[in-house]
Symmetry: C2
Subunit: 311 residues, 2 copies
Amino acid sequence: MKKEVRVFAPASVSNVACGFDIMGFAIEKPGDEVVLRLAEKPGVRITKITGDQGKLPLDPEVNTAGAPVIALREYASFKGGIEIEIHKKMALGSGLGSSAASAVAAAFAADRLLGLELSKSQLLDFAIIGEKIASGAVHADNVAPSLYGGFILIRGYNPPDIVEIPVPEGLFCTVIHPHTEINTRESRKLLPALVTLEDAKTQWGNTAGLIAGLMKPDFGLIARSLQDVIIEPARKSTIPCYEKIKQASLEAGALGCNISGSGPSIFALSDSLSTARLVGEKMRLALDGNIGSEVYVSAINRRGPYVIEEK
Amino acid sequence: MKKEVRVFAPASVSNVACGFDIMGFAIEKPGDEVVLRLAEKPGVRITKITGDQGKLPLDPEVNTAGAPVIALREYASFKGGIEIEIHKKMALGSGLGSSAASAVAAAFAADRLLGLELSKSQLLDFAIIGEKIASGAVHADNVAPSLYGGFILIRGYNPPDIVEIPVPEGLFCTVIHPHTEINTRESRKLLPALVTLEDAKTQWGNTAGLIAGLMKPDFGLIARSLQDVIIEPARKSTIPCYEKIKQASLEAGALGCNISGSGPSIFALSDSLSTARLVGEKMRLALDGNIGSEVYVSAINRRGPYVIEEK
């Protein structure tokens, strides 16, 4: 057991154009930091949250980082106290798996603090407890990439069937986060309950194509597969300048561009760091100048969460 | 140029549970044979068809093997005559890509006869001309596997985006063909025009999972992905004893079992030849004894069509 553990967990891009609810990948930055510390007073307490502009609850029962720690403390039959600090390094509701990153960081840190040495498959169950608080549903397409790193396919649920997909060398991600907030629960209401068999076929051709493109690897196939005929049409109007930003990224050489999670962040994949940087510049220029934004250019994160320091 | 070419092209299993209209694989047997022969009298003539019980037209314009030969003769600006013999080695309307095999064999043989040396990608367009006559629609999920061999993903159409997926060593296919005929056009009418987003998601999780399972390879993942929540429920009642046969194959150790094409053939995949043989025995026992059947146990065909003899 440790006395204190500080953990980083990465942001993630879910859906990945064609893979609504079943795909995601982790990026090197941004990400959240969680510090766990043993305390004398029994129970779990959140002592500090930074970077959330006061929006996150201090009650650990209803906090995405708090709930996994409570569950892991119970799992370990640990009677002592645990204090939690949460340092949000990305905006809430950005579409980059912010709540998932906090939940993963907390679960990973609790495992280290208590010396449990659980597998990632076991930790996933605890991280999902946190994610469920944020999104109201059990989706693992941010939690699993943030925890495992790399590109993750969730083939199915009941139980989550996590498949690690090899990521080709030379694949880089650009993300622009326009400063508007989208509520994931509300955004889900925009989705159609029914889709045509034709559209569904197009989509599963692309999901299969994207996996094959990543595994071969074949950047041309990845590019042709990064299309979404079902979710993007329903959601794109919620994001300012979406079509202009997408167009600009493709003209700058991106393999593909689409909504990250439920938005408003937009991601693009490129086959080199220089292209990914150019894509970022063009995306920012295509966004209405009155709207603030962050742009992140990053390799794919291949390791998931890691310990920054511990004692 | 040759004087006479005899070509074999393999049967194929399309849809492959989760991959309706976008996936198929070729099997070593059965398959069709086509003989092309130079003739003095200009034009294209079908001189002989065996194994079709008189059901196929002798007019080459409306014959799945004739039409590709006509088109390739025109493409080559060949002024002479070509005679065609078609030897059907599998039943029509069996769900094993019978028309595709004839079209592929004919296109492949015409290429050899006329010394064109076209690529498989070019030959695909000609084989599709034949397939279109049989099925009334441009689907490449039997033609492409029969032509390329192996496991084929057709990511999308316009133009057909053919992706060759590596097939793991040790994968074997069992097919039972119960002696009832299903009309592909009629069978398509049973399909729903709309599907729920939930079912579509389940399906594209499985298409992605099947590709990952084949490429890793991971037989467990292949098994978990060989599911169809959209097409099988709509079509299974058209096939006698379908549920019993599927159940028997799974109990005998098959990785998965589903409808081949639009049926009535049923395929199962297994991780060894001995299991594939046992699956075949159990499938036959599960079929109503009053219904005749053939059972084929076969490796995956990895080469597509080949020349049996030429002079």
